[in-house]
């Protein structure tokens, strides 16, 4: 397993990113801008699930409007995340926070595209208010954990 990460760090693209003094910082900065859009499109639906806004709008309508921005910002996150990963592959391999981030990311994605999706698109009232709140809270908790561990990768390795 470790050998894969060493190989990735050795790619010429990875080394080029490391040799430049500005590529990595700029990619990282735009990763955060994409994070702003991602957080927004997730919160629009989660706040609605929590009953903290847009209660005059059907839930499915709020979710459908947020969907293209959720998908678009997820793509932007991956596109700006990969250059960071390949240039620091050996460091990421050793970082516990990177592993936590990837684990939470996987669970958050599954939660978002299965449970949360089902609750958000089903006819209003089919799932009780308490359940909707729980689904929204779990979503916020999972995505917050992804962000927290992402930030911690840079501090302790």
């Amino acid at each position: 397993m470790e050998q894969y990460f060493i190989d990735i760090a050795g790619w010429s693209v990875s080394r080029a990113i490391n040799e430049s003094s500005w590529i990595f910082p700029l990619v990282q900065a735009f990763h955060l801008v994409a994070l702003g859009f991602l957080a927004g499109s997730i919160l629009m639906v989660d706040l609605r699930l929590l009953g903290k806004g847009f209660s005059q709008q059907p839930l499915a309508r709020v979710a459908r409007d947020a969907r293209p921005w959720l998908l678009g910002s997820l793509v932007a996150m991956v596109v700006t995340g990969i250059p960071q990963f390949i240039s620091l592959a050996t460091k990421e391999y050793e970082s516990p926070y990177f592993r936590w981030k990837m684990l939470f990311l996987l669970i958050a994605l599954i939660w978002t595209f299965t449970v949360k999706r089902m609750v958000a698109y089903s006819p209003e009232g089919r799932f009780g208010g308490g359940l909707a709140k729980l689904v929204g809270l779990v979503s916020i908790g999972l995505w917050t954990s992804v962000a927290i561990n992402g930030r911690l990768i840079g501090f302790f390795s």
């Binding site: 702003g36 859009f37 847009f54 309508r61 409007d65 947020a66 927290i148």
Partner: protein, 178 residues
């Protein structure tokens, strides 16, 4: 390395920064191994809340997102979250500067961020006091007027600038000599 000598322009601020840096709370923050990273983490979380709720409102203003909800509803529902997150961001940001004031007052990218924040605030005020009076004409409509779109574009550009320059603050040391 590009030479800039911010220290000359900010001599009074530098004195203030020196004073703050010597306060016990500042020293405690700076010397604690875990405090600073966690303040950074909280600052990022508050940024997610703030930028997220601002950007989603901007998309509605541009006429490209959340179009099934009238603008006034998007704005009214997000407003308390935007303000709460702004407070949360400001407090964590203040703590970061408090712990390392000398790192920031002579940092050109830090000032780019601060100026972008002020201009973003003025843009929001201009929208609120001028353009929002025409809201009745386009609230639920598919195409907001160009003044509203301009406010939306400016907001996205300026807040993205705040995020980008915020992330780049530590790199000022390798890019510029000040």
């Amino acid at each position: 390395m590009i030479d800039i000598a911010l220290g000359d322009y900010f001599a009074p601020l530098l004195n203030l920064a020196n004073y703050v840096a010597e306060l016990p709370t500042s020293i405690q923050l700076r010397e604690s191994q875990y405090m600073m990273p966690w303040v950074f983490v909280l600052h990022v979380i508050s940024m997610c809340m703030f930028a997220g709720t601002i950007l989603m409102m901007d998309l509605r203003l541009l006429g490209v997102g959340h179009m099934q909800t009238p603008f006034s509803q998007v704005q009214r529902r997000l407003f308390p979250w935007q303000m709460g997150a702004m407070l949360f961001s400001s407090l964590t940001g203040l703590a970061l500067v408090w712990g390392n004031p000398l790192n920031y007052v002579t940092n050109i990218i830090f000032w780019v961020k601060m100026i972008a924040m002020v201009v973003a605030g003025l843009n929001a005020m201009a929208f609120h006091f001028i353009t929002e009076y025409t809201l009745v004409d386009w609230d639920a409509g598919k195409t907001p007027p160009s003044a509203a779109k301009l406010a939306g574009w400016l907001s996205i550009f300026l807040w993205a600038n705040v995020i980008v320059s915020g992330r780049l603050i530590p790199y000022a040391l390798t890019w510029f000599r000040s």
